[in-house]
């Protein structure tokens, strides 16, 4: 605001300016501080309060959930967790284990496959490189959900639906990770280092494994983290591919419970406790691995 007033003021005789800007500057600076930080607190509250609600809700039984203060602790956290673990012979733990299995394998294997491809696109010269890389970028631009039903149709035709392969194999291919890997490879790994390894007699595969890979570890962790979260959060693919409840990841399992809340409101405490338990590891991972997702996001914004 001051800028709008100051600009024309600088053309008018000088005495006006000091008088107008001395005192207001100091107060407007405090006002700006309060305004900026106040808005940031508001924005953060919008992000955090729903999560806090989940924490409080996880401590209540169905009765308390529908009455009483939403932002106060209940007394049933332990009971809720016990019910969660006991429901259907402890199927929730199985769903959680499935999530960890799918996301873990997808992150590590898929991350490594992408890392190799991104490394090759960055460090090697070969025919058809531009065309192949363009196809990777097209892959980035096609929304996942548009290929889920085609994937289901194909998997059904070869009898792969309702197996872990149906949810595992598609998650190993992530074009965006290849793109990230290329950015990381050109940023973290100087070509001279590889050249030196080659002069020392290391072949291209050995120089990748012994020289390239150790230097790309931070990039690999970032890619694996993003893939892990992406797979953990995936809903449509497992929902469509799996019919056997024992194979469900936690997202599909919790959604199944939610669909029963209409008939039986008692299920809402299971849904809330299950959501609470499956969110915690992700939030802890994000808080601890801040360095990695920050670098991933800044690499991802390079066009």
């Amino acid at each position: 605001m001051t800028a709008v007033i100051d600009r024309p003021a600088s053309q008018t005789p000088t005495p006006v300016k000091p008088i107008r800007s001395h005192r207001p500057r100091a107060t407007s600076r405090t006002a700006a501080k309060v305004g900026v930080n106040g808005l940031l607190v508001l924005g953060s509250a919008y992000m955090v309060l729903p999560l806090l609600w989940l924490v409080f809700a996880a401590t209540k039984d169905a009765g308390d959930l529908y009455s009483g203060n939403a932002f106060a602790f209940g007394t049933d956290l332990v009971a809720n967790l016990q019910r969660l673990l006991a429901q259907d012979d402890g199927i929730f733990l199985r769903w959680l284990a499935n999530s960890i299995l799918y996301a873990g394998i997808g992150a590590v294997v898929g991350g490594f496959v992408s890392l190799m491809a991104g490394y090759a696109f960055d460090k090697f010269e070969f025919r058809g490189k531009r065309g192949l890389y363009a196809s990777v970028l097209v892959g980035v631009l096609i929304p996942n959900t548009a290929t889920v039903i085609p994937l289901y149709l194909l998997a059904a035709s070869i009898g792969l639906t309702n197996t872990i392969w149906a949810v595992l194999i598609p998650t190993l291919c992530n074009p965006f990770s290849v793109y990230l890997a290329r950015v990381f490879s050109s940023g973290y790994l100087p070509a001279e280092t590889l050249e030196a390894a080659r002069v020392d007699g290391a072949g291209p595969i050995r120089s990748f494994l012994q020289v390239g890979l150790p230097m790309l570890v931070p990039g690999f962790v970032t890619i694996a983290l993003f893939q892990f979260v992406g797979i953990w959060n995936n809903f449509m693919l497992p929902l469509i591919m799996l019919q056997d409840r024992d194979l469900f990841p936690s997202s599909v399992g919790i959604a199944l419970w939610q669909s029963q809340v209409q008939q039986n409101p008692e299920f809402s405490t299971l849904v809330i406790a299950g959501s609470f338990v499956s969110v915690i590891p992700l939030i802890v991972a994000f808080v601890m691995l801040q360095r990695f997702w920050r670098s991933g996001l800044s690499a991802g914004s390079v066009k």
């Binding site: 800028a3 930080n37 992000m47 932002f71 090697f124 892959g139 290929t147 291919c173 994000f286």
Partner: protein, 309 residues
């Protein structure tokens, strides 16, 4: 034979030893095999399937015969009003969601970048936190926060004399936009904030010396300079919004305002699993993929016209 051999020799000579196509292929084959299996083959298979239809004999006995119908399924899908209504909703959703998300993210990023902001790292972490929450759970949390009786928001509004049904036919779409903004704003804040931090400080200093205030600098200097990052954010937001499935699918268990064919993805799901019409599900998916490709192309065109790197 000889031409082939000389061709390989020529490519060998052009590149540094050991970095030619043969070595590169060792690194690329795993990814491209997966790419072919999980993206190209399904799409081709779905295109093939979408050109056929099952026809049952008039009496209903004797099983179905499969016959070639050309683009017949596409015509049927596109002339089905439940499908086109879904597309209409998706379009309104995009028009509400994309600008809201980018505006919220840009404002928060500019606030974070402001010289007077405290505790920037802590704010970044708090803003990013919802992104760690799986989409299903985000939708569930908000479904409860929209449900009268459970929701502290509805309760607070009611005590203020305002009765709002977030899950009504009129409001469920904006309610869904809110869920998506909650999930994705922080992610985009970090991207835009990183871009803002990378701006040359001399330019901002020059603006300050010229007498531009914080707000003026933010709007007329910083914002145009982060346009490329905003373009990337726009592209991924548009692609992401076409994926809309999880939130309406979850909300459909909390309100009847969300039907089983509410958006195109749900329509395709319903066609495949409730109506057992796989060819139409395939056709709907192909239509969505084509639209996504077209939109991405438009967005890329549009954003790269502006000042580039």
């Amino acid at each position: 034979m000889t031409t082939q051999a000389s061709a390989t020799r020529r490519t060998r000579r052009k590149t540094i030893p050991g970095t030619g196509g043969r070595t590169a292929s060792v690194f690329l084959i795993p990814f491209f095999v997966l790419f072919a299996l999980t993206m190209i083959a399904p799409v081709i298979y779905a295109i093939g399937m979408s050109l056929f239809a099952e026809r049952r004999s008039g009496l209903g006995f004797g099983g179905a015969t499969v016959e070639f119908v050309g683009l017949g399924n596409y015509v049927e899908v596109l002339s089905d009003t439940t499908f086109t209504d879904g597309f209409g909703r998706l379009a309104i959703y995009c028009l509400l969601y994309v600008p809201t998300l980018l505006a919220v993210a840009l404002v928060l990023a500019l606030l974070l970048d402001s010289a007077v902001a405290y505790a920037k790292r802590a704010f970044q972490l708090l803003l990013f936190l919802p992104h760690a929450v799986p989409g299903v759970i985000a939708a569930l949390i908000w479904a409860y926060l929209y449900t009268p009786g459970v929701s502290p928001i509805v309760k607070a509004l009611e005590s203020g004399g305002i009765g709002i049904d977030f899950l009504s036919v009129q409001l469920v779409l904006p309610s869904m936009v809110n869920i998506a903004v909650w999930e994705w704003a922080g992610y985009n804040v970090i991207i835009l904030f990183t871009a803002l931090q990378a701006l040359p400080r001399e330019i901002l200093e020059a603006a300050r010396v010229d007498g531009a205030g914080e707000i003026r600098t933010a709007l007329s200097i910083k914002t145009p300079l982060v346009w490329p990052a905003l373009g990337v954010a726009l592209l991924f937001t548009v692609i992401g919004s076409l994926q809309l499935f999880t939130e309406p699918k979850i909300l459909s268990s909390a309100t009847t305002a969300v039907t089983s064919t509410w958006v195109p993805n749900m329509w395709a799901y319903d066609a495949a699993f409730n109506r057992n019409n796989l060819p139409q599900a395939a056709a709907a998916s192909i239509i969505l993929a084509l639209l996504a490709g077209l939109l991405s192309w438009v967005v890329t065109r549009f954003t790269s016209k502006e000042p580039t790197r």
